[in-house]
Symmetry: D2
Amino acid sequence: MKAAFIGLGSMGLPMAENLLKAGVDLTVWNRTKSRADGLIAQGARWADSPSQAAQGQQIVITMVSKDSVLEEVTLGEHGFASVLSNDAVHVSMSTVAAETSEKLRAAHQARGAHYLAAPVFGRPDAAAAKMLFILSAGPAAARELAAPYLAAMGQKTFELGDEPRLANVIKLCGNFMIMGLIESMGEALTLCEKNGMPRQLFIDILSQSIFPAPIVANYGKQIAEQGYEPARFKLELGLKDANLVLQTAAEAGMAMPLAQLMQARFQTAVANGRGEWDWTGAAYNISADAGIKP
Amino acid sequence: MKAAFIGLGSMGLPMAENLLKAGVDLTVWNRTKSRADGLIAQGARWADSPSQAAQGQQIVITMVSKDSVLEEVTLGEHGFASVLSNDAVHVSMSTVAAETSEKLRAAHQARGAHYLAAPVFGRPDAAAAKMLFILSAGPAAARELAAPYLAAMGQKTFELGDEPRLANVIKLCGNFMIMGLIESMGEALTLCEKNGMPRQLFIDILSQSIFPAPIVANYGKQIAEQGYEPARFKLELGLKDANLVLQTAAEAGMAMPLAQLMQARFQTAVANGRGEWDWTGAAYNISADAGIKP
Amino acid sequence: MKAAFIGLGSMGLPMAENLLKAGVDLTVWNRTKSRADGLIAQGARWADSPSQAAQGQQIVITMVSKDSVLEEVTLGEHGFASVLSNDAVHVSMSTVAAETSEKLRAAHQARGAHYLAAPVFGRPDAAAAKMLFILSAGPAAARELAAPYLAAMGQKTFELGDEPRLANVIKLCGNFMIMGLIESMGEALTLCEKNGMPRQLFIDILSQSIFPAPIVANYGKQIAEQGYEPARFKLELGLKDANLVLQTAAEAGMAMPLAQLMQARFQTAVANGRGEWDWTGAAYNISADAGIKP
Amino acid sequence: MKAAFIGLGSMGLPMAENLLKAGVDLTVWNRTKSRADGLIAQGARWADSPSQAAQGQQIVITMVSKDSVLEEVTLGEHGFASVLSNDAVHVSMSTVAAETSEKLRAAHQARGAHYLAAPVFGRPDAAAAKMLFILSAGPAAARELAAPYLAAMGQKTFELGDEPRLANVIKLCGNFMIMGLIESMGEALTLCEKNGMPRQLFIDILSQSIFPAPIVANYGKQIAEQGYEPARFKLELGLKDANLVLQTAAEAGMAMPLAQLMQARFQTAVANGRGEWDWTGAAYNISADAGIKP
């Protein structure tokens, strides 16, 4: 197995490491080279640009922070789209708008290459533990080619058919579900605290009764403790995702009032200097508005 | 074991039946007598009023639809409070306001009896299957006395200390978490459908990845299918609970915007004749507002 | 002309003074006697209780802070309802729930007296300047009897027919319109400031173009300057009114999302110690959430 | 006086007519030529493209439906930017994003021409009656040159300084104020109706007391009657404006919950086929949600 990996942020780095461990012959590129030092020590090759990294590859994996960066590394001056060989597959794992997927798919298609949308659920610790859930959507042949690589990075891959955009929509919807959970727990915990109850007690009961999911226990603990730093997923990225959700909803012609509430929460947090906090920090203002400071 | 059981609605009936099965000598009362026929056939005694049912009992269990009914059966003309023997325990399992608990506790205390708040998580099918989660808060002796009865009705009892009101607040917060889940799934599923995806697919992915809780699978299936009838928990009771949540928040001096959103959803549903639907039907309007009718 | 006047707060005092100026033989009562000193110096009589004040009167005017106080001075231990002579009229000018009006109407009717709901639009400066707008609803004979007294306190009286509750609903709706204006201007002014514009400029343009109403200029100036103290109408009373609006809506079976937003704004302000500010201070948080402190 | 006028929609047509009446030598262009017939009969010249219309002009006025159209007629293939003579002024009167103004200003500046943002308050009837309020922002010389033209189209011009974007922001804020008024009146009128009151009565009282502005009387009458057709300003343009407001807020880094509420109202209306209604029709759903159909 052989691949290029572009983007070594808090998610990309552990994902690339798992590919190396699985024996993949890996060429990497990142805006800041020093992030790659550990991987190089473990045998990864360094490339000086996305296009150089993709030279002669059948699989090019991207994991970058946002839509504009994804477009830049793919279609920009040093982007790799122009060097993709025939039938090569771009495995695009970032959380981006469905329309960004559409655009890249069209660009690759024009050159005979393929686009696979493969966004993931999970934060950096899950990436490190190979516990990611991966959504895979694109042409069947591309999905087949990518499958072993995805298997090396996650605990389960959901095959979602031929349309890349569907994976992006589902990924956004999943993140939106988590936003809803943050708001729900934030309001409930504040009401508990206002009534003289220890915040953690409510999370313990919840996670041992009607909501027995690790996400409730983990996110709940952070919000119960109001421990929003350091970030596991930055609040400013939460705002980006809320914006993407609402943009997708606007294109679909529908209202999403809970998504609007979360957008407002994230906007308020960023406007008050909390963009670097974990996105559970959206709950900070619920308590602050009630007169409670952690 | 011996007890009175007051209120044989869709929850009370299967709960009383489980007490009978556990060998409890049970006296029952309900507004409509015919609801008790099956229990009487299984050995329960019928009483003509709450006060008659409670005569000589150490344990009186109530499971009624709302605060005003609870006050009526307890403190009203034929209410049982006046006949409670010394150290008897009123096990109050309905979802009611914390201040209703306070009021009843004071009323019982004045006569030497005890009040135990013991609200439950679970719908009628969970009650029938003895799968309820029960929250128990009140004087230690009362909790001890009630414990075997609660064990006969649920899968797990959470002991929450001496203050009855805490159990009510936690119960309301739990129901509020479910409301948040209904809204989150309703918006997400509508966005999926608007993007040409089968609704159930999203629930399958969600419940097999980041939200592996039965409640997500079960409620999600209902909302995915827009199958809101018959009700497992009536929407008009959801409105009652949203009102109780907001009343508790107002007393605590805090804003709960997501609870407000859900109150508005339930009000809109009831105003349009959907009060008898299941409370997941709050999601109906999300799709209808987007131009989708099931 | 002769009347009793109960409640000498920031509204009641100037209103009573205008009655005196119009030559009314006035007996007054207030919780704190010292508030009446000026009126007594101008010829008003002091009474030691609401019931003493109402002794032998055909007209009893009340202007108190909230529903519970109105019920106390009317129906409480020293309330005046029991001493009202036949065909006497209770002119109730406070902002209260429609159902409070219903309750008092029934209480008076049982004794042969009449209830007139006569809430007002205007803050203390308008009361002092006899510029109040008055809504009058109740039996025709009662409205006729009260008319000259109302004329002595306001610039215009709207006759609204026989049902007292309608005046209360309209008064609440009017206050709700002002709440909507506060939020609208608060959001707009924050957007202007964020774009480098002087806040007052927007109010000047607005009040000289599409919104040429004094309320826009006056309230707008306060919000533009973020000058929320001293209060002309206390924010905690704004919360009371938002609660009354939502209670009325709940009884009517309808959702009012903008009223919910304002309730949340007021709750947040009170929870953070701003209950004594002017109710335009609801706009403080709009700017604070955007990272702007006045 | 001599000018080109581009865009003869429901607003542009009466505005152009007023210029003709004021003696302006007018060359016009519109996507659909037949809209210009009346103007040509009154002496206007027809041009086959925006660029042809602008040939040799010092003043080019645009009044088109949205940002993309404005960019097309200005910078597109047949756009007029490339033919503008030195020191010519583009008087841009549409409601567009501040950033669209920035973009066009830069484009003109590069060629030595000027950009003046001059959006208006008023619907077609106000345009016909020369009753528009006009906001004028741009270089002093450009404002001076444009002043007599603007005076021929409106009742008052507000001079807002050198930055075109400020006029756009103020225009959006003004439209946002109207949205807030629509929601406020819609909720209040529904509450009145639910309480058995004639809807118009509330508007009469409001416009004769605390809100004595024509906009309250006019918009209020439409909402009271639920007379949403034919449109005077299309609801789908209201959605466009709500989107622009929120986009501007997002760029400024702030939350605008009332603007979000209105965006959701408009999205819901458009999704249900009411995009061609007047934008007061946003209030339709408030009543429908309460179970009231007009």
